[in-house]
């Protein structure tokens, strides 16, 4: 054996063979392209087709955007300057910017108010979206609706103050009595709030809004993208609690409550939003007291909220159904009653599962706010189709205006869905 080893050792090379570089087709860009773009003949054809498509799209839109004019005062002027070249007439956006964003009737010296509201909204919404921020910020979130209402609509500050006091009183009552009995706390809080509002409402003098610090702006003067944002934010934040309540009602074992919830949800999901908006615009006023004038904005908010709450209810129901039965049983065995079990055990888990669905509904709702243009409210689409395109200066500037609207909605909706994916990853306590 040793002899053999001695012989064979002579054949073992003493130096390491230098590494040779991998073949060119197996490295870097070439390898990536070969694997990802040209792995087969049909793939190669697809790649070429896709490249042609991209080239076609870019070669027609890029010069159009690059040659865009930003400072002319009418489409005719644009055409004169461009002299037959391909080019966009973005000046419609700069010239009509305020109309597109605030609507055409919002008083121009008050534009700072919606702007400030938008800024405050970002602050108020931050602690809801990002859990790492200090929880104290939620106090501001609670105050925000009242501040926003006062800023946008103006008028007397007493109205939002009374509303706030009503909520605070109800909250305090619930804190005090809700611990021992949820039902007493809950219904008591509603009664307290109603009492505060009716007393407070009668205390506000009639002409309080006439010489208020912020001049009052009626709802019909709101418009543009601001209206879309307001409708979207208000309806989403109102419909989430309502949707959760509906979902719990649908799961309930009380036949009457379950029946009401099922009928409501299935009815709303079965009709298009536009018919509900028709209800808001032509039918709902028949159901209010004869002397009451409820303005269109509020009627639309009511209908959109009811609409999206039915969809959110279905999403939350999915989340509730996805929880293993053991969770319900564990809550029961700990001796928790129904509200406690829901608040402490069931809902935190069910809502976590439902987040992507709820965000989808929110994105859909925000897109659907454009439908109000059909019942002649001047939101962004309504502004474009109405006052802007109908004006003599800008009649015919379709691409720029609708492109702008599409871009605004894309940015907001894409942002929301990216946030939801980020949140899903963050909440995913993977094993």
């Amino acid at each position: 054996m040793a002899d053999q080893d001695k012989n064979s050792i002579a054949f073992v090379s003493t130096e390491v063979i230098p590494e040779s570089p991998p073949p060119a087709r197996e490295t870097g860009v070439v390898k990536w392209m070969r694997e990802n773009l040209f792995s087969s003949v049909s793939n190669g054809v697809l790649t070429v087709l896709a490249l042609l498509l991209i080239y076609g799209a870019l070669s027609s839109t890029l010069p159009w955007i690059m040659n865009g004019l930003w400072t002319t005062s009418s489409l005719a002027e644009c055409r004169e300057i461009l002299a037959g070249k391909s080019g966009a007439c973005f000046s419609v956006l700069t010239e009509r910017w305020h109309q597109l964003i605030y609507g055409f009737k919002y008083p121009s010296e008050e534009y700072w108010r919606p702007n400030l509201t938008l800024l405050l909204m970002l602050v108020a919404i931050a602690p809801v979206l990002f859990f790492d921020l200090p929880r104290k910020l939620l106090i501001f979130t609670g105050l925000f609706p009242f501040i926003a209402f006062w800023l946008i609509w103006g008028g007397t500050i007493l109205a939002p103050l009374v509303a706030l006091v009503g909520f605070v009183a109800a909250g305090a009552f619930f804190q005090r009595f809700g611990r021992s009995s949820f039902a007493v706390g809950f219904f008591g809080a509603i009664v307290i709030a109603l009492v505060v509002w009716s007393i407070g409402g009668s205390l506000i003098p009639d002409g309080a809004s006439d010489n208020a610090m912020l001049p009052a702006v009626p709802s019909r003067d709101l418009g543009g993208f601001m209206l879309n944002m307001m409708l979207g934010l208000t309806c989403v934040s109102l419909s989430v609690p309502l949707g959760i309540a509906l979902a719990l009602g649908r799961q309930s074992n009380m036949p009457l409550i379950k029946g009401i919830c099922v009928v409501f949800i299935e009815f709303v999901r079965g009709v298009p939003l536009i018919t509900l908006l028709f209800v808001a615009s032509v039918m709902l006023s028949y159901f209010f007291p004869p002397d009451a004038t409820v303005d269109l904005f509020l009627r639309v908010v009511i209908m959109i909220t009811l609409f999206s709450s039915a969809y959110i209810a279905e999403v939350v129901r999915g989340g509730l159904a996805a929880l293993p039965k053991g969770q319900y049983e564990a809550a029961d065995s700990l001796g928790l009653d129904y509200p406690q079990a829901m608040r402490l055990i069931i809902l935190p888990q069910a809502l976590k599962i439902s987040i992507p669905g709820i965000v989808n509904v929110a994105v859909g709702l925000f897109k659907d706010t454009t439908l109000v243009s059909v019942i002649s409210m001047f939101d962004l689409v309504g502004m474009i189709r109405g006052p802007v395109l109908a004006s003599t200066e800008w009649n015919g500037v379709y691409w720029e205006l609708f492109g702008f609207a599409a871009l605004l909605f894309f940015v907001v909706c894409y942002g929301i869905s990216q946030y939801s994916q980020w949140l899903e990853r963050k909440l995913h306590k993977g094993h």
């Binding site: 694997e35 990802n36 773009l37 792995s39 793939n43 697809l46 790649t47 896709a50 490249l51 498509l53 991209i54 009995s181 039902a183 007493v184 074992n253 009380m254 036949p255 009457l256 409550i257 009401i260 009815f267 999901r269 079965g270 009709v271 298009p272 939003l273 536009i274 018919t275 028709f278 209800v279 032509v282 039918m283 006023s285 028949y286 159901f287 209010f288 007291p289 004869p290 994105v363 897109k367 659907d368 454009t370 439908l371 243009s373 059909v374 689409v381 189709r385 015919g396 379709y398 609708f402 609207a405 599409a406 909605f409 894309f410 909706c413 894409y414 869905s417």
Partner: protein
């Protein structure tokens, strides 16, 4: 010393209504019933008072009155002397027409985009991702308006087809693409077996149904033969003959001919007119919903675990059989329910037709009829009733399907 005490006497106290689980649900339901009754009474009372103040009453007799407006796009006979009910029916059929067309094309777009998004070709999958994101994140109303605007702004008007040197010409001399819509040749029968055109088409339909049943019988027999002998007889030519021979014979007997659209006066006459609004709505709904369907398809294919493919390959199945026999049946179970709810969405979104002036039921019954007669409550109720019926029918179809593909678990 212990004393035995009786169990505490059951005595009813008022607080038990809230604190005792036996009574609490009754309390809550009673409260809910009272609240519901109060709400209905309040709203109904307001309604009655408001109607009385406005001098109105709830009555559907306006449906029989002459409508007095014209509808461009219609599937059945209609003129401005027809009744409001007839106008609503025209709208209803138009809704069903656009929903049906859009469902088909949206499925095609969606399946192609969904499959391509899973392609291992980087640029194609990214392109499809861009398509999906762009269309999902922009309101469908904007898409409908954009496409309608492009159609009316970019396509040539009928005027440009005339003159000695027309700037536009008909494709193949058969199709005319104008800014008012697309005109295509219309088939008709020169010597039909029946007097009315409808009956002739019903006959064609009956023949098609007959052929379908015949091919099904042939296929069943082929499957039985395969089960007995292990060899499947080739049914392709038989099936083709069953489909084509009666059809061609019928067409020959009845004298199929085509009516080609012609430029007469200021517009095209003859042929089938597919109006611009219909095309805009159809295309916008298809491409918008296609993006959602693409996501469903992708999710469905990804939901089939990789082990299934590997197991099928290990059994010796060839790739196309793996797809047809193993992957697709499982993926379809995941894809179909959301697909059907997308069909539901298409039906509901078709109500946006009102934005481009397509005469669907929302535009006729909920638009012009409502504005002319002022019968807001009746019109909106009828409108909701129609959509509710449609969506209930579609969800019923979904439930039937779900039951039929339900996993039989132990």
């Amino acid at each position: 010393m212990t004393t035995l005490t009786d169990p505490p006497k059951e005595s009813f106290r008022l607080s038990m209504l809230l604190n005792d689980t036996r009574y609490r649900s009754l309390t809550f339901q009673a409260v809910a019933a009272i609240a519901l009754a109060l709400a209905i009474w309040y709203l109904g009372n307001n309604l009655i008072q408001n109607l009385r103040a406005a001098g109105l009453n709830i009555s559907y007799s306006f449906l029989g009155d002459s409508a007095g407006y014209d509808i461009n796009q219609r599937l059945i006979e209609y003129d401005s002397q027809s009744s409001h009910a007839r106008a609503a029916l025209v709208g209803l059929l138009n809704t069903l027409l656009v929903a049906f067309l859009a469902c088909i094309t949206a499925t095609v777009f969606g399946v192609i985009a969904g499959v391509l998004r899973l392609s291992n070709n980087w640029i194609v999958s990214k392109l499809m991702a861009v398509y999906v994101e762009i269309f999902r994140n922009i309101p469908v109303l904007i898409w409908i308006i954009i496409i309608f605007t492009i159609m009316t702004a970019v396509m040539p008007g009928p005027r440009e087809f005339r003159g000695d040197t027309p700037t536009a010409s008909m494709a193949l001399d058969l199709f005319a693409f104008t800014n008012r819509g697309v005109y295509t040749p219309m088939p008709f029968f020169e010597n039909g077996l029946f007097g009315s055109a409808t009956l002739n088409w019903v006959l064609v339909l009956l023949v098609a149904v007959g052929s379908w049943y015949a091919t099904r019988a042939v296929n069943t027999r082929a499957t039985n033969t395969q089960a007995e002998t292990g060899v499947r007889p080739n049914t392709l030519w038989t099936n083709l003959a069953i489909w084509l021979v009666p059809f061609i014979a019928l067409m020959f007997i009845m004298g199929l001919a085509w009516e080609v659209p012609e430029l007469k006066g200021f517009n095209f006459k003859g042929g089938i007119k597919i109006g611009g609004p219909l095309i805009a709505l159809w295309f916008a709904l298809s491409i918008y919903t296609g993006a959602f369907i693409a996501e469903n398809v992708r999710a469905g294919i990804q939901a089939v675990s990789k082990g299934q493919t590997e197991a099928a390959s290990a059994l010796g199945l060839r790739p196309n059989k793996v797809m047809n026999l193993v992957i697709l049946p499982q993926a379809l179970r995941v894809i179909i329910p959301p697909l059907i709810s997308q069909y539901l969405n298409i039906t509901k979104n078709s109500s946006l037709a009102i934005a481009v002036g397509y005469a669907d039921i929302t535009a006729t019954l909920g638009g012009i009829t409502l504005n002319q007669t002022g019968r807001a409550i009746e019109c909106v109720l009828l409108l909701m009733l129609f959509y509710l019926t449609a969506s209930l029918l579609i969800s019923m179809a979904m439930n039937v399907y779900n039951a039929s593909v339900k996993l039989e678990e132990r």
